[in-house]
Chain length 374, copies 4
């Protein structure tokens, strides 16, 4: 059971204390208070844990400070919307607000190769007013004989440059809990020049021990990539491992699924699930067109397939877009064939903006009174 | 080898005859002349059949009336673009022009049940200025004990009503060659009140005998639906069976593929292949959001998933949209759960228009000089 | 409702007439009598069609001549076992008995190329006492530009040679109803030198019009190949189209399914479904190792993968085995890479015999009293 | 490059030292010596690491003590057979020899629930002379709210009971490196009463950090389960992560793959890949029929599908069989529906023995001179 308090309730509100006291007066019930800082207001939710089946709703609903009481279902207990009972308020990290309503592009290097290339990319982002990026230091590769990423050794210069060019969030894959310690240490040594969103890759989507560990790092948000060969439901259950550990700042990322039917694309683009994830859960949704398409083919208009599938994600409400860029894709150490050239980024951003405007127009029209239409 | 003649060349042009004579002077070479009536001009292509490997290009290119000479590759011989060598000029049928540049919505009944419902739908289309629809008379169903469609018995009233309400094209599935005879007879008896586009369903996507037969019906265009469990390449090869028979008025329709990874959608939406089909072939591309999604769930904005995936198809350049509507979906004899209500159609059309405008803006921007962007 | 009569009841039995009269005395009920000639006895089943829900069982069960009364479920109405209520008695064709208990190997040419090769194969079969084969005259191919089979032109010499070498059944794919007429005519012209089992290929597994047509050819048995991209349930439902048309002499053939997970095999071997089909339906089960594996790789023992997957089918009770052989695989016009050499057939047959003996031992042990085992 | 020494070469052989010295005399080349204790002899292999392209073979082949020199290909560098160049000698652990020639059944509890059930199972195994089992202490579950296994707390009684009943190897899944420390500690505290084979589950098949860690535990063998949604090639590459770390005592386990085409089985049985893995690599192959089938349905002979698919694995040469048993499946905390009853185990073992004998007969026949067959 979740008791949603009215917006902007102060943490020290005596009303809140009364609600907690009442809840804990029921046998076996304990409480957890979650405060969520949204863009324009703060939200407080009280979670009742234990045998809530016998706890009545009415006594709580009568409080002046309570907005509503939501009985949660077993399915997606922590991340779910529970049949629309809960809003998707999102979260703020390092000054950037991310929710099911916001929109950010994360252009960046799939794998960090050298300082020069990182600087070229970050400088370009600054020119375009972008404060969010991706940068891979730890790369899980199919074969142990492939380049595995520079690991912690590249973190100092990546974070320094991020600070220099005003980058606020770097999405960075981790494949072992020690990577998080290394990242936190390097962030600290950089004077917290930037922020990191921990990325869980598709190969670790059911590495539950890593998910539990990430679930305890409540200072860092998480970008969770859908598992390749598992259902959407199983991937959302995996997110529950993170959320039930305490870390609710999770973004769900669609990146295509593996099947021969995807051909000639590398993976089968699954962005039709953007509205599904937004309906079932409170999580903001990211799309990763680079890994989905995996190649630079273009349609007859001259638009790359990567542009096209991005448009498909954005026009249906995707909140984040990861996009691989590289100054010299042909010399990239990993996934070069799917990276945009730096000079293609401006066109990409314009193209994305068209799709985002179309989404906003669609959303506005959807909520308009339908009086004139029948 | 294909010799593309300059636009608007008269069929009786003496130049054309000279080109044909020259071609046939090479040993073993025969010719086929294809005239394609586009929206603004007519196009003539001369196909050289036989051992063209030894036929030189230069003597043809020198003719005043020849625009270009294209060597065709083995892959997608009849429908292919041959590395961009051929334009996708499309075709005209019953006054409606369909190509990779045009856009039409085909709202209609998945299965015709009675005259009253057909009239309700056609009247609604007329109010919205729509002259294209779908109507199922022959329904292939998983079980022989399910409703199989009214067959030829419903054709007279469907065609009469089509004439009454100004419908120009009805997309109608056929599963046996005799259905085509029945359709042609009923059309004639209706005084050709309307036109029919023969639809090949996903279950018959590799029914090559039916494809060959349809390939000979050069008076009727064909809507070919991708096979469920086969690759895109195999589906395009199946279209070659139609085209190599002589009927080149083919529309390729994406309708989702079957895999457990689609869940909770009925099929895995494959509209990321819209630009792929347009790049590889000259075929206009249709999307079928109703059969892809298969249910009426809505995202948090209040927009049905069916609207969302339609937007994904349209913003990437889909040329046709099939969409199931029904006056009373709960009483539909087939696929009711995926049909829009009649009163939802206006909102659907507005939503589609937003996506189409966005596509047109994207396309315009793509072809604009990129000077200012780097 | 099905009334199973005691074995070897004469067709003209007055008892049977009484049963029929009683059945038809219920409102709206009609009857169909099916006689099945098994290896050692004949079986008679009376099908009650119509509103059987209100027909009681007791009055029928009381007849001396009635063995049992089985209420059929909706699922797999004609081919089902109805929770074990019905035995799988199988059928006899041209002197060969085929059931869930029998075992036959069908070695043969995937595609007939010339008389010489057909004769080589049939002569080899005769030396091994084999009277069942496969021979492809009509070949559905992915591309219209591939060899499509010799069609009706090869039937005369195939049937003549079959007669000469004592072949009783040829499994032969048909892709259009006209092929059946051609086959029947050629059989007649050969003086019915042999018999044909009509094969429905995987690409036509949901070509319901062809299935209905084949369902009416009650003189010829049918070999139905599972559809590539559809579930087992959907494929069994497709068999219902054949059976509900009247032709119950159906063999269900597993031939692998298409997925990238099959690699390095051509298709994903699905022979784990052998016991499933035998449990759910009355149909004998065939396996097609050649099309499943699609290549000639061998394991470290020197046994081809084709031998191995055959063993997997046979040890779990497969009743038929289709196996491609060719005198010169490298010159075969279709699927050469998967054909056994003629000189490999003897070893194959010995290998198969080991697996069949193991299956029989397993089955015997299963039905033995389990007293000593706990 | 691998230099295979003649069998039973003593580790201190001066000849070996000469070979090493010669190898290291080439620029940039270092050596690794691997000794493999087989059932009847020991094998020594010298691996040359570095730029071996310029190292000639002849000088090594001339040594008396050298059996052969094998150039290794990039593919499956550590585990591969390199086109048959290397034998699959297997390994010995805690007195049990496991190789591509041996055969062992591992019946056991999917998840350890209590001491009583563990004792019942181990006592049964002892009565049947079985010294190998499975026992799950750490269970990765789709949802965080499902039973996650008793973890380290059950290890003491599991290991004590193993010692009491003569169990030599317990296959036990680990999902975090700390589990290995816990296992090793508990083994030590039990006086090394038994041995443990570390199991990597399908969800961690591409958890490369865990694989690398397991690769360093050279005292414990590893059972690697194929990944669910990835190709066989990708799963074999994942094994390379283990082997390249130094641990070459790896068993590859097939356990079915996830696709809707598997229905009504839980997973699609992939045991047709048994001979493929044995051909491509030196790894012994295990099959897991319980997780593949996932239910207790039986064929018409009264044999469970689990028995049938086991037979399919064994008759094609599987070396290990994992099989879930439980005293009371209906009260099992995990995967009860797929467990055999204890009283079914004797029949299962007899059934398996039939299949194994059939495999041995097939193998013997394969290697016999084929003189009489053509």
């Amino acid at each position: 059971m979740i008791i949603v308090m009215k917006a902007d309730l102060p943490p020290e509100s005596p009303d809140l204390k009364q609600v907690l006291a009442l809840a804990e007066s029921y046998p076996g019930i304990t409480t957890q208070v979650h405060r969520i800082q949204g863009a324009t207001r703060s939200l407080t939710e009280v979670y009742l844990v234990g045998p809530t089946g016998v706890v009545p709703e009415a006594p709580f609903a009568e409080f002046e400070c309570v907005e509503k009481v939501v009985r949660i279902t077993q399915r997606f207990r922590s991340i779910g919307r529970h049949d629309g009972g809960l809003e998707a308020v999102g979260f703020e990290y390092n000054g950037v607000h991310i929710s099911q309503d916001t929109f950010h592009v994360f252009p960046g290097l799939c794998a960090v190769d050298n300082r020069e290339n990182v600087e070229k990319v970050f400088a370009l982002l600054k020119r375009h007013g972008i404060v969010t990026t991706r940068a891979g230091a730890y790369k899980p590769r199919t074969s142990p004989y492939d380049f595995q990423g520079h690991g912690s050794s590249c973190l100092p210069f990546v974070f320094d440059l991020a600070g220099k060019y005003g980058i606020k969030i770097i999405a960075m894959e981790v494949t072992h809990e020690s990577h998080i310690d290394e990242i936190r240490k390097a962030l600290q040594e950089s004077g917290n020049a930037t922020g990191v969103m921990l990325q869980i890759g598709t190969r670790n989507a059911q590495n539950f021990e890593l998910l539990k560990h990430v679930g305890q790092q409540t200072d860092l948000p998480v970008l969770f990539k859908r598992g390749m060969g598992v259902t959407l439901e199983e991937s959302l259950n995996a997110c529950e491992y993170i959320a039930s550990g305490g870390n609710r700042r999770i973004v769900f990322c669609l990146r295509g699924v593996k099947t021969h039917l995807a051909d000639p694309h590398r993976n089968f683009v699954d962005f039709a699930h953007v509205p599904v994830v937004k309906r079932l859960t409170r999580l903001p949704v990211c799309v990763d067109p680079s890994h989905s398409v995996g190649r630079r083919s273009a349609g007859p208009e001259g638009l790359l397939d990567i542009f096209h599938v991005t448009a498909q994600g954005v026009i249906t409400g995707a909140n984040l877009v990861l996009i691989d860029v590289h100054p010299k894709p042909e010399s990239a150490l990993c996934d070069g064939p799917q990276a945009l050239l730096l000079e293609e980024l401006p066109h990409f951003l314009e193209d994305v903006a068209i799709s985002r405007r179309a989404y906003e127009e669609r959303r506005k029209r959807a909520s308009a009174p339908a009086a004139a239409t029948a």
